[in-house]
Amino acid sequence: MSAGSAATEPRAAAELAARTSYGRLLAYLAREWRDVAAAEDALAEAFAQALAAWPGAGVPDHPEAWLLTVARRGLMRAGRRARTAERLRPVAELLDEERGAAEPSGSIPDERLRLMFVCAHPAIDEAARTPLMLQTVLGLDAARIASAFLVAPTAMGQRLVRAKTKIRDAGIAFRIPEPEDLPERLDAVLQAIYAAFGTGWDAITGTDTARADLAGEAIWLARVLVSLMPDEPEASGLLALMLHAEARREARVADGSFVPLGQQDVGLWRHDMTAEAEMHLRRAASAARPGRFQIEAAIQSVHAERARTGRTNWPAIAGLYDLLVTLAPTAGARVARAAAIGEARGPAAGLAALEAADAPDNYQPYWAVRAHLLSGSGDLQAAREAYERAAGLTADQRVRAFLLARRDRT
């Protein structure tokens, strides 16, 4: 980390250190002390002390090492107060073992991957995994996480506290899973990252209603994961998928109105992000171990080709969805497959696939796709009703206005 060199302003230096190294420091302390909550408290206190001390004394040469030392001192004091001698014995051994390696060079071992596996451990409540990862690895505050997941802040706070208590009391180990467990455990990590990005991504209408407003953070997490596990094709696949979707952010709204994917101005797509996505997807494909996220990224890659060819290859997309639903039979994938079949083989085939998709009640993408297919098949009255139902189920006012306008034109 070169946070010290650029930092003339102490507050800016502390903030830069917080942004770039919070997760690294927390992961290291949490592993050392086997207590995420205590490590968070100590690190928060260390940052507060930095803000108080650095303006007078100047920014230290190694801000991370400074913060680590102060946080450790805090943990020692708290540990003495709590008289947790038994718990500290293995910690003391770990300290002896790792201190030598960590401090002279000023570089702190990167334990964030272990922390991610802890956050997405099967013993942790599934609803807490993504929030826990966002809070510990990226340092996001609980109130913002709660809002993004549409959960009351107090409930989210309790969920996070429970999860951290479980990690400590159940003795969940900070380690990379054994090879035989790795695929399943890695999938939980990937799912947790993708949940931060938003789950309602729908290729045909683009009604990403469940988008959780944390897209940038999710991409950051995926970049960290890819840097730590460069040989895992699904990690690269997930990053490629999210970059493809993010590349279209600007094109999704024009004059304050929602624009579906098929009508987006390709000139507004971020071609640098698309190119980066393609690079990750190619690297993933070279491992010849296909998976859910690589296929979803490949679907987005076909959509992206429209910028070059001027048309969308729907048969290719439908074929990829066939493959996707065998690997990851989620409602979202089945509904999106029906939409793709509707484009590739006509509305009747799409409707048949949609009815077979077994979508949950009140599932907004089902109604949006149904409306689109019904209007294509000429059943206009039913299409209007479905457009209205889809409008009533979205939480995005631009999507709502778009769907009601479609209804009025149908």
Binding site: L150, A155, A395, Q397, R400, A401
Partner: protein, 121 residues
């Protein structure tokens, strides 16, 4: 569990109800939402309310009744309507609250209801 979704709207929203250019989208959004809630089979009760200017409020103090025009608070936002819905938990209630048009331009308060009082035998 039953929750009340209380929709608060600013005066500009009440004005939109009768604006020839804006009434269509306003009522279209609410109608679509109300139908979706109804189709979901979760409605216990609900209603939209006439604008705050139609309100009258009553107090009784020391046996004397006072009746006054208008809503009782000079708030920026006023009650525009409500639903009582029956859903499994708060997360589900919040999801329905977020889908309401008021969530995008006003605000929605979500509160669990009290159980009904015991009936005399």
């Amino acid at each position: 569990m039953q929750y009340m979704l209380v929709f608060s709207e600013g005066q500009d929203a009440f004005d939109r109800r009768n604006d020839p250019e804006k009434a269509g989208p306003y009522w279209g959004a609410w109608t679509a939402y109300a139908r979706a809630v109804a189709e979901a089979g979760i409605v216990v009760s609900g209603a939209g309310l006439q604008p705050p200017a139609t309100a009258t409020h009553v107090t009784v103090r020391d046996g004397k009744r006072h009746v006054q025009d208008g809503p009782f608070a000079d708030a920026k936002e006023h009650l525009g309507g409500f639903f009582v819905i029956d859903v499994p938990d708060l997360d589900a209630a919040l999801e329905w609250a977020a889908r309401s048009p008021a969530a995008s331009y006003g605000r929605v308060e979500v509160r669990p209801t009290l159980p009904p009082p015991p009936m005399p035998a």
